[in-house]
């Protein structure tokens, strides 16, 4: 299978996974990446096994793109003992450092300084880089500034990835953030920065590959802004505020459809093959959901375990 097809299939798996999980509204709200799959998938295509990825609370796509077992992710999101975090982290806190997914953190911008520390540890231990995904919302936070500055002064191996879906809950980017594009934030710190179409998985991947090469080569941090669009509401329990027209326009640039068309155009996969992959992804998601449903909850008596 070609690399382009792999990108497509990973996005299909994420989409199928989230759509399957969306059926479980009874299990608490979720933060989906529907529409934003290309960002996580493109970035992860540029990372290696020794690297670590940190994300914001919106983390399902990233965890799956990084290769974390979907059954364990599903179990975690449903609060089961077999989850990645033994059911204790849940939505917003998925983690599996052993798979290079250092984890999600639901405090907006709260993952940035942590990521710089992870980058430092990796560099002092001699292998790997850290990548950190955050939303446009995090760009107003001081932690980004502090992180960019220290990372630049110390030349930390850190790739900062702004998954800019244009909104912080209901607040549009322009109402909250003066810089335009957000990648401009990196300029004073004299680190390479790129702003790309986050709905184009290959564009994301290509930019990420270039910046990762810089970071891995000891050049210090880099900044990648991916302009994406979120199809669903902020979380499954948040009310929608965007006009229908805007949402329709967003839906029109579906990263999965675009990649499928690209694969077809290039002759890397025909429509039937793509449909088969999609069916496979849906079957796997359904299986993950069944496995998670069947798994036990943690015991109430375990509430004081792993506190310190």
């Amino acid at each position: 299978m070609t690399a382009a097809a792999e990108l497509l299939r990973t996005m299909q798996r994420i989409r199928a996974f989230e759509e399957a999980l969306a059926q479980r509204a009874d299990r608490g709200f979720q933060l989906f990446s529907l529409g934003q799959e290309a960002v996580a998938v493109g970035v992860c295509a540029a990372l290696g096994p020794d690297d670590q990825l940190l994300t914001s609370g919106r983390s399902i796509a990233a965890a799956l793109a990084r290769g974390v077992d979907p059954v364990a992710v599903m179990a975690e999101l449903l609060g089961k003992q077999t989850g990645t975090n033994r059911g204790r982290g849940g939505r917003g806190h998925l983690a599996q450092p052993s798979r290079g997914f250092f984890g999600a953190h639901a405090v907006v911008a709260g993952n940035l300084t942590i990521a710089a520390g992870v980058a430092l540890a990796l560099s002092m231990r001699g292998r790997g880089i850290a990548a950190c995904m955050f939303g446009d919302g995090a760009c107003g936070a001081g932690a980004l500034h502090e992180t960019m500055n220290v990372a630049a002064v110390w030349r930390l191996p850190l790739l900062l990835v702004c998954d800019n879906n244009g909104y912080s809950i209901s607040t549009p980017q322009a109402a909250a953030l003066a810089p335009q594009p957000l990648a401009a934030l990196a300029e004073p710190f004299r680190m390479p920065a790129r702003s790309v179409d986050g709905m184009d998985v290959e564009a994301v991947r290509d930019a990420a590959v270039a910046l990762v090469a810089h970071v891995r080569g000891g050049g210090g941090p880099a900044f990648l802004e991916c302009r994406s669009a979120r199809y669903a509401t902020h979380s499954t329990s948040t009310r929608e505020t965007r006009p229908d027209s805007e949402r329709a326009a967003d839906r029109a640039r579906d990263p999965i459809r675009a990649q499928q068309q690209r694969c077809e155009a290039r002759g890397e996969a025909d429509a039937a093959r793509c449909a088969a992959w999609d069916a496979e992804a849906r079957a796997a998601a359904a299986a993950a959901l069944r496995a998670a449903d069947a798994a036990p909850y943690p015991l109430a008596a375990s509430v004081l375990e792993d506190v310190r």
Binding site: R88, G90, G140, A176, A300, V303
Partner: protein
């Protein structure tokens, strides 16, 4: 309460919205700051309609930048406006403690009375399935800060009345609104009044034991009292309402009658509200003995996992057990 009109029942968010709307209407210097409080109306729709009525100058959507939100609120208040800053979850207040504690709480003192900071920080506390970094109750930290007033309503009437008082106070106030109160409703007379700081509310009379709680835990304490009443144990239930200043007189008077104190809080027991209440009552009672027990969260982060969250937090069963153990 007006004799004529029966008090309408309103939701918690409506009580807050009404207090805000009235204060905005009567005080043109009042400005609101918060994430998604404008057209969106706030996480719990408690700001609904304010943006439309008072405009973007006075109802300000902010970036996700809690330090700046509080700092700007503080500076604006110190320089002649009145500010309310909405912090979506109290956990994020940690990001803004520097301007709140190191500046606002000290401004009047350090300037020798030149600067006053009429600021309200509304911080939504407590657990409701949102996980380890969105569930904390750190009001005990704030109680300890000289210069800060801290209030935490448990009812619709107190949400309204305490917020009105906070919005007229000339120093910094933290207003703690608990997530689990948002689905609750209660009576709010159209002529509802401000609730002064420093006055607890005895919400149930009994003489076997004093239960002390604030915010959502008042409901838990009342549920426990209901159950205990069936066993013939009559509880005095005191809703603190105001954590700083504390109404020690009401607490001490209750304990003088009951001889037993059980404190209930959703935050940690360690250095918590209950430890302070017990210490103050003891100081006020001048050595007269009484029994004490504390009910609080277990010493663990509060997971979003429903099993673990429930295991961590105090509920009526834990309160009744504590009371029975204490009295036995």
């Amino acid at each position: 309460m007006s004799a004529a009109a029966p008090a309408p029942r309103v939701f918690f968010r409506e009580a807050i919205g009404r207090a805000l709307a009235e204060a905005m209407g009567s005080d043109p210097t009042l400005v609101l700051f918060g994430q998604d409080i404008g057209r969106f109306g706030g996480a719990y729709r408690e700001f609904t309609g304010l943006f439309e009525r008072f405009g973007a100058q006075r109802v300000r959507d902010t970036p996700v930048a809690e330090a700046a939100m509080i700092g700007i609120g503080v500076g604006a208040a110190a320089a002649g406006l009145r500010a309310l800053v909405s912090i979506t979850y109290m956990d994020f207040l940690m990001l803004g403690l520097d301007p709140l504690v190191n500046y606002a709480a000290k401004a009047c003192y350090k300037t020798g009375g030149q600067v006053r900071v009429p600021l309200v920080v509304k911080a939504t506390a407590g657990a409701r399935g949102q996980g380890v970094a969105h569930s904390q109750c750190i009001e005990a930290w704030l109680m300890s800060v000289p210069g800060l007033t801290v209030v935490a309503p448990a009812t619709v009437a107190d949400a309204y009345g305490l917020l009105k008082s906070a919005l007229r106070h000339d120093g910094p106030v933290v207003f703690v609104d608990h997530k689990r109160l948002y689905p609750t409703a209660g009576e709010l007379p159209t002529d509802a009044a401000e609730v002064p700081f420093g006055q607890a509310r005895v919400c149930r009379r009994g003489d076997a034991v004093t239960l002390v709680a604030h915010a959502y835990m008042v409901r838990v304490a009342l549920a426990a009292a209901d159950e205990l009443a069936r066993e013939g144990i009559a509880c005095d239930v005191v809703d603190l309402r105001s954590l700083a200043p504390l109404d020690v007189a009401t607490l001490a008077a209750s304990v003088a009658r009951t001889g037993a104190l059980v404190t209930v809080e959703e935050g940690q027991a360690t250095c918590g509200v209950g430890a302070e209440v017990a210490a103050r009552v003891r100081e006020a009672r001048g050595g007269e003995p009484f029994r004490v027990a504390r009910v609080a969260a277990l010493p663990a982060p509060v997971s979003s996992n429903p099993i673990l969250e429930a295991a961590c937090l105090p509920d009526a069963a834990r309160v009744t057990t504590a009371v029975r153990t204490l009295l036995s």
